[in-house]
């Protein structure tokens, strides 16, 4: 009898250890990046019992940890360094001795910002009572998400946790697209992640990819003294920029010392000790370029590893994007997808808008994102920002348009700041004069584009914008004057 009591007791102990903890939430969000954490906060504000799962160990996703935020910190501080070195004398600032870069402090300043912001998102979760699970989220079935421990992750769940979810939002984001045949070691051959944490400034930096990521990182190291070469397969840089804007910014960046090899195909790249040999081909001719660091910046792709989406039979397209309808629904109406892991531009603010819309759809049945009004910004100096249509798109659609252009050299504030490179280009409908697109190269373009976005959203005409009083002296007057130029004549040019 004693023996049977012991065996029953042993059985019940071992059964309890194997059974994962089970919890229940109204909405479970897989991924804590800009899409996921914004969706979580909005859902909590709308009254849902919300949980968010993130396996990185820090919230904020690629954007806060290895993307937008650290790159902007490096861009800002490298610009200041460059200006102190080259620009201070004409402003009447004499600097005695040499302006030197302390790479350790440079990196620490960036890391401090990242830590502050990721910590800030955690505080927002606490404030809004969002339950935060550190671990890997994957599907058990269409209503249960499993949170698994991640080895070595501080704060990770200790054992599998099963979350019963009435609604689920997939926000797993994206990862770096590898270049076929090139092995990334994040030391000499780096992705954007490695480029943000280089331990020394490379004398020669080669970049595969003339998109925004490549040009921004190129700008940083160019300012710090690297000889930067951009290798681009297409005949123009700048991703989806307007053609005139792309060629203008290329001229400006070339003047700053960046070198461009367009219509150039990269054949191979191999690290040999402390250098990287890159074989390229242009017009049938091969060339070998040597660099100290090679940045592979050929884009990003959706990230669905470890999600177990195959268990639910979810669909993807050939680029790996989870397929959804206009309500962000997968084949299950209670499972939505937002952000980089699905259709649309891979932009943090697009993911944020979708996060809010998805939460609102769960609550009210209505939520909307205007994909024709999503701004893009490149944080070089001068910045480049655009929203709405390009000339090329309008020509392809057969839409008649007019253009208004105003250079910053004619803007008072730009002149006081001694920062006059660039222009504002406004595209309006030829008949109704309604704003169709705005393209800005210049100081603070990223801030200014918000005014264009608002005007676009409300269907404003160039005259509507031009008749609004803009403060003097501000850079935004250039935006006003460009609209004036579009339907009439500018005053100050």
């Amino acid at each position: 009898m004693l023996r049977s009591f012991i065996s029953k007791r042993s059985f019940s102990i071992s059964f309890r250890n194997l059974s994962p903890t089970s919890k229940s939430h109204d909405i479970v969000i897989i991924g804590g990046g800009p899409g996921g954490y914004v969706a979580a906060i909005k859902a909590a504000q709308l009254g849902f019992d919300t949980a968010c799962i993130e396996k990185r160990g820090k919230l904020g996703g690629t954007c806060l940890n290895v993307g937008c935020i650290p790159s902007k910190a490096l861009l800002n501080n490298s610009l200041m360094y460059h200006q102190m070195q080259h620009d201070s004398k004409q402003r009447g600032i004499d600097i005695e001795g040499q302006v030197k870069l302390n790479i350790d402090t440079f990196q620490k300043a960036k890391d401090k910002v990242v830590n502050q912001l990721t910590g800030g998102v955690e505080m927002l979760f606490k404030k809004n009572k969002v339950t935060y699970y550190k671990g890997n989220g994957s599907f058990e079935n269409e209503n249960v998400v499993k949170v698994s421990p991640v080895e070595g992750l501080e704060g990770s769940v200790k054992e599998d946790v099963l979350l019963d979810a009435k609604n689920i939002i997939i926000a797993t984001g994206s990862e770096v697209t590898p270049f076929p045949g090139i092995t990334i070691d994040e030391e000499r051959i780096v992705s954007s992640t490695g480029a943000l944490s280089l331990k020394e400034i490379p004398k020669r930096l080669a970049i595969i990819g003339g998109g925004i990521i490549g040009l921004e990182m190129g700008s940083v190291y160019n300012r710090l003294g690297s000889k930067t070469t951009v290798l681009e397969f297409q005949d123009q840089i700048g991703a989806s920029m307007d053609g005139e804007v792309a060629s203008s910014i290329q001229k400006i960046l070339k003047k700053q010392g960046m070198d461009f090899k367009l219509s150039t195909k990269v054949i191979s790249a191999e690290r040999k000790g402390d250098v990287v040999d890159i074989v390229v081909e242009k017009s049938g001719k091969k060339e070998t370029i040597q660099a100290d660091v090679l940045l592979v910046a050929v884009g990003r792709r959706p990230y669905i590893e470890g999600l177990n989406a195959e268990k639910l039979g979810l669909d993807v397209d050939k680029k790996g994007r989870l397929v959804i309808d206009d309500q962000f629904n997968t084949k299950f109406p209670h499972i939505k997808v937002i952000g980089d892991v699905t259709f649309g531009p891979m932009l943090a603010h697009k993911a944020e808008e979708e996060g809010i819309a998805a939460a609102e759809i769960f609550k009210t049945g209505h939520g909307h994102v205007n994909y024709n009004n999503i701004p893009s910004v490149m944080y070089s100096h001068p910045e480049v920002a655009w929203v709405g249509k390009t000339e090329e798109q309008l020509k392809a659609d057969g839409i008649k348009y007019k253009i208004g252009k105003f250079p910053f050299i004619a803007n008072s504030r730009a002149k006081t700041n001694m920062d006059t490179e660039g222009f504002v280009k406004i595209i309006i409908d030829a008949e109704t004069e309604r704003l169709l697109g705005a393209h800005i190269i210049g100081p603070n373009a990223g801030e200014m584009i918000a005014e264009a976005g608002l005007a676009l959203e409300y269907g404003a005409s160039a005259e509507d914008i031009a008749r609004v009083c803009h403060a003097h002296p501000t850079l935004s007057e250039a935006f006003k004057e460009a609209n004036l130029a579009a339907y009439s004549k500018p005053i100050n040019f």
Partner: protein, 127 residues
């Protein structure tokens, strides 16, 4: 006494005229509509979709491979004070050697990327 701001607001008629009527509230009928950013009006379950297994099977995972220094690969980098060095070997090709990946037989070459994917990649992942 009413403040100036209140008096001004009452007398001012905005000159901005919004085009059309109030934005319509979109009714969401049972009909499923493709996402605005899809290509080919793709929907979950449509024939252009592929399964997650098939996609994951065909992609090369993104892996960071730490560099292993070998005795042959001791080329010194050009730091700020070092002159750049490149070791060049000029010799004829031996049997079964080629000078570039593009000279290999097709079955050994990396898979070529089609034009649409090139456009996608070089647009920074943005369509």
């Amino acid at each position: 006494m009413k403040s100036s701001a209140v008096r001004l607001a009452k007398s001012y008629t905005p000159m901005i005229k919004f085009v059309g009527t109030k934005h319509p509230m979109i009714d969401h009928p049972n009909k499923i509509i493709p996402h605005p950013c899809t290509i080919n009006n793709m929907l979950p379950g449509s024939q252009d979709c592929i399964s997650v297994q098939e996609y994951l099977k065909n992609i090369k995972p993104f892996v960071v491979v730490p560099f292993k220094q070998t005795p042959k690969q001791t080329t010194k980098g050009s730091g700020r004070d070092d002159a750049s060095r490149y070791v060049y070997f000029d010799r004829p090709l031996k049997d079964n050697e080629v000078s570039a990946i593009s000279d290999l037989p097709e079955r050994f070459r990396p898979r070529t990327i089609d034009e649409i994917e090139v456009e996608f990649i070089n647009n920074g992942g943005v369509m």
